[in-house]
């Protein structure tokens, strides 16, 4: 029913991804600074007389919790916005979520995720320009 997307993207792609998500009506998200690597294993840098390997590279982890039926469109949007074509573009993981609670109102479940102008209300009643 509810899913969580963890998207590991390049730092410089954050603005592009945010804008693309706002455009489709996803605004609830949080960002965590992480370091990591996939298969490419990092870079070699020089300091004075010797070199060193930095194998944990900085990335942003974007967390989004959303309804099941919006996952595919959101994942597509993130991929298009975050892709450069170079090794190191990142990964997206999708997890199931047990429950969602809005702290201010106590709403649970689907109601805790919806708001005026979000991706579902736009599909039902398209936003006028």
């Amino acid at each position: 029913m509810t899913k969580k997307i963890e998207a590991f993207i390049r730092e410089e792609k954050l603005e592009d991804v945010k804008k693309a998500l706002y455009d489709i009506g996803i605004v609830g998200m949080n960002v965590v600074e992480v370091h990591g690597h996939g298969r490419q294993g990092g870079v070699t840098l020089a300091w004075r007389t010797s070199t060193y390997k930095v194998d944990m590279l900085p990335r942003y982890q974007l967390n989004i919790v959303l309804s099941d039926h919006n996952v595919d469109k959101t994942v597509d949007t993130i991929c298009k916005a975050a892709r450069t074509g170079q090794v190191g573009d990142g990964l997206i993981f999708v997890y199931p979520v047990e429950d969602v609670i809005r702290i201010r109102t106590g709403e649970r479940g689907r109601e805790a995720l919806t708001y005026e102008g979000d991706i579902d209300t736009r599909r039902a009643a398209p936003v006028k320009a």
Binding site: L45, A46, W47, R48, T49, S50, T51, Y52, V54, M56
Partner: protein, 490 residues
Amino acid sequence: MEELQANVDSLTVSANILWVLIAGFLVFFMQAGFALVECGFTRAKNVAHTMMMNMMVFCIGAIGYWICGFAFQFGAVNYTYAETAISATQGSPTWAFSPITMGAWGDSLTTGLRFAEQWGIIGLSGFFLQGLQLSAAGIFAFFLFQMVFMDTAATIPTGSGAERLKFMGFVLMGFWVSMFIYPLVGNWVWGGGWLANLGRTLGLGNGAVDFAGSGVVHTTGGAVGLAIAMVLGPRLGRFNDDGSPNAIPGHNIPMGVLGTIILFFGWFGFNPGSALGIQGAFINLVSLAAINTLLAGAAGGMSAMVYMWLVGPGKKPDPSMSVNGILAGLVAITAPCAFVEPWAAVLIGLIGGVIVCLAAFALEKAKIDDPVGAVPVHFFNGIWGVIAVGLFAAGNPDTAAWNGMDQAVTGLFYGGGVGQLIAQLFEAVAIAGVVFVASYVFFKVLNGFGLLRSEASAEVIGLDIPEMGAKGYWEGAHPNLRSMYSPGGK
């Protein structure tokens, strides 16, 4: 007319003293330069400790130098130069390098230990600056100027010993340099001691000539730095068990570069100020020293940058080695600056920039860990600067009567023969040898009492908390300063 002449003389002395004071203030500001370079090229977890060393080295050094350092270095300076002193105050200095540009010093600073008149070893008057009138403006200005020079030497080992030096060991090192080892060799070259008199005793040119201290300041500081780095041993994680090196990157290149700019600025007090006057011929020495300093620093930066670009491990113009190159050029020109032609200053700087790179690689090969390049910059280029005088000194007429001789300072390439070069070699070997050996023994003793190297546990978490009880950077304020890179797993 006599009154007019007296006024002119008084104004002349005042102008000279003013220049020495201003130059001394510039050299004091170099402390900020050293502090920034050392902090920028070391890790954030040690920054409070590194900064404290570079600040307190001034406090400790000033007290130590006031207690006895100045007396050991200059306590006998007026003994050797008494006869030239009298004629100088009558308006015609017969000897270029005399503190007498700053007034008549009378009977003060005339006691020391010497053999056979010309073989001065150490001064023995002026302890605690006692026995001086409060109107001894020239001597006080001279003390200030010489103290900040000593402190430049004392702060060099804090760089090569950074990141694993106990603060107590540093404090004792500060007293060692300011109270004894620097004044000792400083007496030999500038205090009327035996190295300066080699012209009169052994016929070697003008004796050991060192305008602003490639030998006295930088070789001394570098030798103490080499000794402390060797006794301390490398930082944890710097070398693997098989001997291969790991880079330990510094945390703030902007600090390192800004520090170098400050040092360059301060050097315009360091070298030109060493003329100790601006009247008559002295302004020529001041101006020449200033542009030679400019040219050599620039050339050193260029050649080090190009060397790393072409030959270095990253094949890029490395920022930290390039600024080391600037400092190398400045160190190398410090002795010859008032004696050589501008083209020679450029060449000396170019060679200095290459020497610093070669020395840095050589130290790493020898498994000696110098985090900021203090030894390549100061020890190796200090020696190069001392030798360069013997090669490139151009017989500047304004240097006639240097060290009480009757000739201008002339090097091998200008028809001066090898006399001056041999005197310079005496200076280089004497200073490097005595300072290194004595300091090595001193640090070995300290280490034996557990006063030198910090505990491994302290070194791993960073010296700020264990040694200073205070974090340099509070992580709540700067969350991004922790690095994911951990050299050698430490």
